[in-house]
């Protein structure tokens, strides 16, 4: 297969990924919202899929609706539980997502994270991977709908605004450190995303618990206690934090090789540092009387906002050595 074919395959797989994730998202939402009331699912899945596909990307509307109606109708016939359908589609989508990255890497003959389109694709892949791991290990299926929304939005943004054809990298990026530094940053960002989703749910749930407005069969009741959500968010953050630390340090080593200094307060470096500091504050706050709970959770969300700003804001608002936009 030639490079052009591989690049083409990558784009096709991207479309497949988005479609599968959208249906998985609907199925997760159905699982969360209606539980075992399966009959209602099929119709809703179809309607919602159409709406969401439209929002995610104009070019994927046709294929999206076609698949949605095909798959959405299936549970009604075979009486598959939405949860199982969601996980199946999620895993299939994950495989296609992996295929996107692999085929793109092969087409370009390099690691497939050298521009914003590829970063975002890789980060959403890492987030979905982190979610799948968390789901399998801690049975955190309830996060599925939220992680799928984040992944679909990220892939939509990547395709609509950031798309870039397969191309070579600039000499500065031509280093084995791209495999290590950027991969670590991508993995950490993916995990932080899952932790962020859990943190938001924690805030919502603990608010409902505090007010006593928890309905017996509501969506919130299907989630673990706010304590459990808090522990999950913290656990995933504790996984991601050392990786983020390592990513920054490896970035510094690379910067020392490429630019002649290991730390130069480049905007990207500044915001990586800010993100790191706020996550460190979160980890400490969680163990400090008077700060644990909601305040710490808010810190985690600020840290996540800094992480997102580091990715989008820094590349488009400031000029620096990390401008790959």
């Amino acid at each position: 297969m030639g490079d052009a074919d591989l690049a083409n395959l990558s784009d096709k797989l991207m479309l497949t990924t988005v479609v599968l994730y959208i249906i998985a998202m609907v199925a997760y939402a159905a699982d969360l919202g209606f539980g075992r009331r399966r009959a209602k699912l099929a119709a809703d899945a179809e309607v919602e899929a159409k709406v969401l596909v439209g929002a995610a990307g104009a070019e994927s509307v046709d294929a999206g609706t076609a698949e949605a109606s095909g798959d959405g109708a299936e549970p009604e016939r075979t009486q598959i539980e939405p949860a199982k359908l969601a996980i199946l589609l999620n895993v299939l989508g994950w495989g296609a997502h992996l295929g996107v990255l692999v085929s793109r890497g092969l087409a370009a003959n390099r690691w497939p994270w050298a521009n914003m389109y590829e970063f975002l694709t890789a980060i959403s892949f890492a987030a979905v991977t982190a979610f799948l791991v968390v789901m399998l290990r801690y049975r955190a299926r309830y996060l599925g709908a939220f992680v799928m929304v984040a992944a679909v939005v990220a892939l939509g943004v990547a395709n609509i605004w950031l798309y870039d054809e397969v191309g070579p990298v600039s000499p500065a990026l031509n280093s084995y450190w791209i495999a290590i530094h950027v991969s670590a940053a991508i993995v950490a960002t993916g995990a932080f995303t899952v932790a962020g989703a859990a943190t938001i749910l924690y805030l919502v749930k603990s608010r409902a618990e505090g007010r006593g407005t928890l309905r017996e069969h509501g969506i919130l009741a299907r989630m673990p206690s706010s304590d459990g959500l808090d522990r999950l968010a913290n656990g995933v953050t504790m996984f991601a934090f050392p990786i983020w630390t390592a990513a920054i340090i490896m970035g510094a080593i690379w910067a020392d090789q490429a630019w002649g200094r290991y730390w130069g307060w480049d905007p990207k470096e500044i915001w990586s540092f800010i993100t790191w500091v706020i996550y460190a504050a979160y980890l400490h706050a969680r163990a400090t009387a008077g700060w644990k709970g909601r305040k710490a959770a808010v810190l985690a969300l600020i840290a996540f906002a800094a992480l997102m700003f580091n990715f989008f804001g820094v590349n488009y608002m400031f000029s620096g050595l990390h401008s790959y936009a």
Binding site: Y138, P171, F241, D256, Y262, G290, G293, V314
Partner: protein, 565 residues
């Protein structure tokens, strides 16, 4: 979290309460005040606020141009913002990371950190050497507990337990009919190493700032650079740098090679740069060759040489009105845009007689005319069809009185330097332009390339790397390893059988390790009736309903599991 918003918001944290309930500073003199201030500073609450301030204080460093990174942008900003600019400057907004207020925040933060971590390290050292704490009276009340009966004698059971726990690398202490064991000190060790490594990192950064140096040079092909202060285009010494510290190496740029994508959408994008250099460690040393590339710096004489940038140096020969050669050299041009490397530069011939001559020129590496035929543009960054346009000037260049001048700019145009009428001309390599009225001539000989190199030495580099690695190792250890305690008590029960009680306590979420230990103690044949390990505690409940998220790495308490004192 059962606290409502208002409660958790208004209730003072324990550490803070402790600080406030400490003896009132009033009436205990300056020492008492100092002690009070120290306690305030070393609370976790203060540390959190300082952490947040460090993050917040870094933000302007990314918003405003910084002198350390882009001094020319700062100058432009000040020019553009006549009222706001000086105010921002007063608050060091253009040198955020060297600002006194920023230094105040991070020094306070690190003092606070040291004030917490160092006493903790001492405490940890003592507890590592101390005996594991004796068994509590009622082992059944511990988060993890189990009991069983056996026919073996109590002493044998305890001896077995001692050995089994030792094998699992617990620190074990036996006595009083019980075995006490503790393990997992690495967690706290890692935590302390992480924080101390951060302190070390700060010192490493300071070391580089004090003793290091960095400088930039622009080198045209065939030129040689000798490492001496006067030959740098730009030089930033550390605070206590001594110019005798400069290693006496020389570097000659043989050839600069750039490779570009030749077709497709990314045509013109650079794919590789190589500066072929020859260098000597000292002027008498043997000449060695090196391919300097973007990610492959050259190490020479304790310094590192980096390839930073590149551009073109067209070669010109200028003759004056008398026909004498007034100037003949390669002139580095600066790129006006980096896509196709249209570059500009000036040629100064102060030796020209009777009047000094100067030229402003634009170089198009691959010149093509635009579709309307009006303009020339560069279509490719490599010098496939180099063309320069020349604008000529005569008069006084302004170099004679010794005022320093940029080599990339002409000064006094329209005042001391007058444009020569009809003095514009487009030249290809080899072309000569005879200035009107026999004022002289300029010949475009050809194009060479230049590379800009950065030379630096940072003695803090290796210490910083070591500190960083320790920090990562420390944080990983502190997140992965939990301290856990196990107690085993054995006593004779009714019917001559021995009753064995096992209790476990883990900081944070419990692990299955306890069950393994109990199983090992009971052995396969000792299956007493109704004596399964019964786990208590909140974790056991939530684990069953399928929703109790129990992150394996999730120690319930964060990196610092006690409120700072």
């Amino acid at each position: 979290m059962s606290d409502t918003e208002t409660e958790s918001g208004t209730r003072p944290p324990a550490a803070r309460q402790a600080a406030q309930d400490a003896p009132k500073p009033k009436g205990i003199g300056p020492l008492g005040w100092l002690r009070w201030a120290w306690r305030q500073l070393t609370t976790m609450r203060t540390a959190l606020i300082l952490l947040f301030l460090v993050a917040l204080g870094s933000v302007p460093g990314s918003v405003f141009p910084q002198r350390g990174q882009a001094p020319e942008d700062v100058a432009a900003y000040l020019k553009e913002h006549k009222t706001l600019g000086p105010w921002l400057d007063k608050f060091s907004m253009f040198d955020v990371f060297a600002a006194p207020w920023f230094a105040a925040i991070y020094i306070l933060l690190f003092v606070s950190l040291a004030g917490c971590v160092i006493p903790r390290a001492a405490k940890h050292y003592r507890s590592m050497r101390a005996r594991p704490p004796a068994a509590p009276r009622n082992l059944k009340r511990l988060p993890q507990s189990a009991s069983f009966e056996t026919d073996a004698a109590a002493e044998d059971v305890l001896e077995d337990a001692r050995r089994a726990l030792r094998r699992k690398r617990f620190r074990v202490d036996a006595g009083g009919g019980a075995v006490a064991a503790e393990k997992g000190y690495l967690g706290e060790t890692g935590n302390l190493v992480f924080h101390l490594a951060l302190l070390a990192l700060l010192f490493a950064l300071g070391l580089g700032n004090l003793f290091g140096y960095r400088g930039n040079i622009l080198l045209t092909e065939d030129d040689t650079f000798a490492n001496s202060l006067s030959l740098y285009d730009q030089f930033e010494p550390g605070r206590v740098f001594d110019s005798d510290d400069l290693p006496p190496f020389t570097v000659r740029l043989e050839d600069f090679q750039a490779e570009y994508e030749k077709d497709g959408k990314s045509r013109g994008q650079a794919t590789d740069f190589t500066a072929k250099v020859h260098y000597r460690d000292d002027p008498q040393g043997a000449e060695k060759a090196y391919d300097l590339k973007v990610n492959h710096p050259l190490m020479v004489g304790g310094a590192k040489v980096y390839l930073l940038n590149h551009g073109y140096s067209p070669v010109f020969t200028v003759k004056d009105a008398d026909g004498n050669v007034a100037f003949q050299d390669a002139v580095p041009f600066l790129p006006m845009e980096t896509r196709n490397y249209t570059s500009e530069g000036v040629i100064k011939a102060p030796d020209a007689q009777p009047e000094q001559l100067a030229f402003y020129a634009i170089l198009w590496p691959t010149a093509v005319t635009t579709e309307d035929g009006e303009q020339i543009v560069s279509a490719f960054p490599a010098p496939l069809r180099p063309v320069v346009t020349i604008s000529s000037f005569k008069g006084d260049i302004g170099l004679d009185d010794g005022t320093p001048q940029s080599v990339y700019k002409l000064e006094g145009i329209g005042e001391t330097l007058q444009p020569i009428k009809d003095g514009q001309k487009l030249l290809e390599p080899g072309d000569t332009f005879e200035l009107p009225n026999g004022a002289g001539s300029i010949k475009f000989e050809g194009v060479r390339e230049w590379a800009s190199l950065s030379v630096n030495r940072d003695p803090g580099r290796i210490p910083a790397l070591v500190a960083s690695i320790l920090a990562v190792a420390g944080v990983v250890a502190s997140f992965m390893v939990r301290r856990r305690r196990v107690w085993v008590r054995a006593a004779g029960g009714k019917g001559g059988r021995t009753v064995v009680e096992v209790g476990g306590l883990t900081l944070g979420a419990a692990t299955s390790e306890f069950d393994d230990i109990v199983a090992a103690l009971r052995g396969p044949e000792r299956d007493g009736p109704g004596a399964g390990p019964d786990e208590g505690g909140p974790d056991a409940e939530s684990a069953d309903d399928g929703q109790g998220a129990e992150p394996g790495a999730g120690r319930e308490t964060g990196p610092a599991d006690e409120a700072k004192e």
